[in-house]
């Protein structure tokens, strides 16, 4: 994973940043907020773990989210590091989706996004990823990469729409990159 990854020359964006509110395609009011802006981050992290506990394992991507509360909490703790960005999509007091940027230790960040099954196909992923990239850009992130199973057309379509490009390093998973500054 550490080989030189190509990035697009031109930055994509500009992207909006949280907090933000929108109405999803099912008429639900969804609010986007950064986890580290929460008044009670521990309670919000617990709500996020709740979402992953209810998450359909059929939508797992390359082993994440793991199953079982302990494993979920251990995995989440690796995403809650100082330079990571975590944006949550809230429907009232329920977490509908989560998008995250985790530093890769080589000057770029890795992106992942999950929308709970009850909230999919409602445009939430589209808002979530844009606000995540906007927040990342505000915090000085320039290069973002991700991998996605190469048969996951819905996810690949979303990533392309925001400006990610395939690097050509395709295995079981496709690698994509974007420049946001």
């Amino acid at each position: 994973m550490s080989e030189e990854r190509p990035y697009p020359d031109e930055p994509a964006g500009p992207f909006p940043s949280p907090p933000a509110t929108f109405t999803d395609r099912s008429g639900r009011e969804i609010e986007l907020r950064c986890l580290d802006a929460a008044s009670d981050p521990e309670a919000e992290a617990a709500s996020l773990a709740d979402m992953y506990e209810r998450f359909d394992p059929a939508d797992r991507a390359q082993g994440i989210p793991p199953t079982g509360r302990d494993r979920i909490e251990r995995w989440l703790s690796t995403l809650f590091v100082a330079e990571a960005v975590n944006v949550l999509a809230w429907h009232d007091d329920v977490v509908a989706g989560h998008a995250t940027l985790v530093p890769d230790g080589e000057g770029a960040v890795e992106l992942a996004i999950f929308v709970h099954q009850d909230y999919q196909r409602a445009g939430i992923g589209w808002h979530l990823i844009q606000h995540l990239l906007g927040e990342g850009a505000e915090r000085g992130v320039e290069r973002v990469w991700l991998t996605v199973e190469r048969w996951n057309d819905a996810a690949i379509g979303l990533y392309r729409e925001v400006g990610f490009e395939r690097t050509g390093a395709d295995r079981f998973e496709t690698e994509m990159t974007i420049r946001i500054a």
């Binding site: 994973m1 991507a61 390359q62 082993g63 994440i64 985790v102 890795e110 991998t147 998973e173």
Partner: protein, 122 residues
């Protein structure tokens, strides 16, 4: 079982090595360790062979060590199929910073091409 373990020096291949050696010690597998060239790592094959030898001695397992030249995936498949191995064992992939499993190129080739069963060690 007659097991062909491919080791190229990546961290997942080294943890597969200890797991498969432990298994051989416990159940008496007939083990061959193939040292392959993994372009994604810079471990020298001589160092790797020495490390494999130490692990085998430590576990008191008698195994054959072979250094394989050429394309690692296709060579492993060819050896396993032509020499009557029951299974090819390989490291089951690295994790990205996010915790996503990323299967290596050698494992992907072997999974898609081998008619012998494949054991990806996690």
């Amino acid at each position: 079982m007659k097991v062909l373990l491919g080791v190229g020096g990546s961290p997942d291949s080294l943890s597969a090595l200890s797991r498969i050696v432990d298994r051989a010690a416990a159940v008496g597998d007939e083990l061959t360790v193939a040292i392959v060239e993994n372009p994604a790592t810079d471990a020298s094959r001589a160092d790797l062979a020495a490390r494999v030898k130490r692990e085998l001695e430590k576990a008191d397992v008698d195994a054959t060590i072979r250094t394989i030249s050429g394309d690692p995936g296709s060579r492993l498949v060819a050896i396993a199929e032509s020499e009557g191995f029951d299974v090819i064992a390989l490291g089951g992939g690295e994790q990205t910073p996010m915790g996503k499993i990323s299967v290596g190129s050698i494992a992907e080739f072997v999974v898609l091409n081998s008619r012998v069963s494949v054991f990806l060690v996690r």
